[in-house]
């Protein structure tokens, strides 16, 4: 067992974990943060996307011990004081989901994308979300939601 300490959604946490524990399992099984989902076994789908020190990562492809000493934000840490994050709001407005399985990862990646590039083109949104798979929507409303959150499409 290895002792780890980190900040998750603003709270300090510490635990003894096996080094082989993946960050996504730590979040879900130890901390009960089941908002972050596991969609694949190959690090392809992006459902598990969280922010590590402010940048998106696939939490199924990071060990919990690698996140020790760092700051993690999950989908559950995005809303502030009961208000949805603008990207969450936009996904709701644009009906950017059907089953919702990909949604936490899509939103976390979209927030990262907009942090880097606040006024993306449609093409840039599609490229920026290439690590996130959605089996329901055909992506169209997801792209629309990200553009809406950015304040409209830039040309």
């Amino acid at each position: 067992m290895t002792r780890i300490e980190m900040t998750v959604d603003g709270a300090r946490v510490s635990d003894d974990v096996e080094p082989r524990m993946l960050l996504v399992h730590y979040l879900r099984e130890k901390l009960g943060k089941t908002g972050t989902l596991v969609g694949c076994d190959t690090s392809n789908c992006g459902a598990c996307t969280v922010h590590l020190d402010g940048h998106s990562v696939k939490s199924c492809n990071v060990l919990a011990v690698q996140a020790a000493g760092h700051e993690v934000t999950t989908i559950e840490g995005l809303a502030q004081g009961g208000d949805l994050h603008p990207v969450q709001e936009a996904f709701h407005d644009c009906h950017a989901l059907q089953c919702g399985y990909c949604t936490p990862g899509m939103i976390m990646q979209s927030v990262d994308l907009l942090n880097d590039n606040p006024h993306p083109t449609e093409e840039e949104v599609r490229l920026g979300l290439e690590g996130n798979l959605c089996r329901c929507t055909g992506y169209h409303n997801i792209v629309k939601a990200v553009l809406q959150a950015a304040g409209g499409a830039s040309s």
Binding site: P19, N61, L63, G131
Partner: protein, 284 residues
């Protein structure tokens, strides 16, 4: 699945990492960004007893200028390579290629050295590093040695890095003012290259003065399209002249056949992508 049990070692210096490697030998595996290693461990294709994480070794991270060379630390993340102004100015082919590698989340964790040491023949950095004549600095118990790009890639997933060694930095000769383009052919988003071609050219007016071309996934290692490089010298950057030279892009290659395409299809792709990459690189 989750990886098999292992002991986690987090050295903070290269010396500590090397002594852990020396102590545990075959039972240990180096971890850089973990973006290739963790999936392999989760599928239990590899189950090391010790994982030596290089993530805490600050000296392995960063990009600097040394005379005619840009030096990239092995642990520099793909995202930082892609955003680096020195590389954009002096080794643009690297900047152009790395943004096509995987997806943003993977580029936030994966490293330059990890990708090159992993040596997947479909990896997007090997061809460009080879084309630019990179030098690989490998450090072991007896100190550091430098391996030329032509000698670094030995076979599928096999490089000149020994079992007791670590790739510490990659030295890239400056190609200031050279145009560059990376043309990657895939069927779906964030796929590994079916074939890709990286081209960088030095123009003299409308004429190609020098060209370097690296091929991705056209054999068990990255390859140079030397016949095309030679044929391009002194040619105008026109569709006809470049298309003619690009005809020999598949010369001396040994591409795989798989579900994405057979070897002949890849040979054809190499000629088409080489033409496109060179024409784009030659744009003023």
């Amino acid at each position: 699945m989750i990886p098999a049990q292992f002991e986690y070692l987090a050295p903070t210096t290269v010396e500590e990492a090397l002594s852990a490697l020396a102590q545990h030998g075959d039972d240990a595996k180096i971890m850089a960004g973990g973006q290739s290693l963790l999936p392999v461990m989760r599928m239990r294709l590899n189950a090391p007893d010790y994982v030596i994480d290089l993530g805490g070794i600050d000296s392995l991270r960063g990009i600097r200028e040394e005379g005619d060379t840009i030096v990239v630390g092995a642990m520099t993340r793909h995202v930082d390579v892609g955003n680096d102004p020195l590389l954009a100015e002096h080794a643009a082919l690297i900047s152009r290629a790395v943004v096509h590698l995987a997806d943003p989340q993977v580029r936030h964790r994966g490293t330059f050295g990890g990708a090159l040491a992993h040596a997947d023949p479909a990896g997007d950095l090997g061809g460009p590093a080879l084309a630019l004549g990179a030098q690989f600095v490998v450090t072991g118990p007896g100190g550091s040695r430098t391996v030329a790009a032509d000698d670094f890639f030995e076979d599928l997933f096999t490089t000149a890095v020994g079992d007791d060694e670590i790739l510490t930095e990659v030295r890239i000769p400056k190609h200031t003012g050279w145009g560059a383009h990376y043309e990657k052919f895939v069927r779906v988003a964030h796929q590994w290259s079916i074939v890709a071609v990286g081209a960088t050219v030095r123009m003299d007016g409308g004429t190609i003065a020098e060209a370097r071309i690296g091929l991705t996934n056209m054999g068990s290692t990255p390859l140079r399209a030397r016949a095309v490089e030679d044929a391009l010298v002194g040619q105008p950057a026109t569709e006809d002249a470049v298309g003619e030279a690009a005809q020999s892009a598949a010369e001396g290659t040994n591409p795989p056949s798989d579900l994405n395409g057979d070897a002949d299809y890849r040979r054809h792709l190499a000629t088409v992508l080489t033409r496109r990459a060179v024409l784009a690189a030659a744009q003023p």
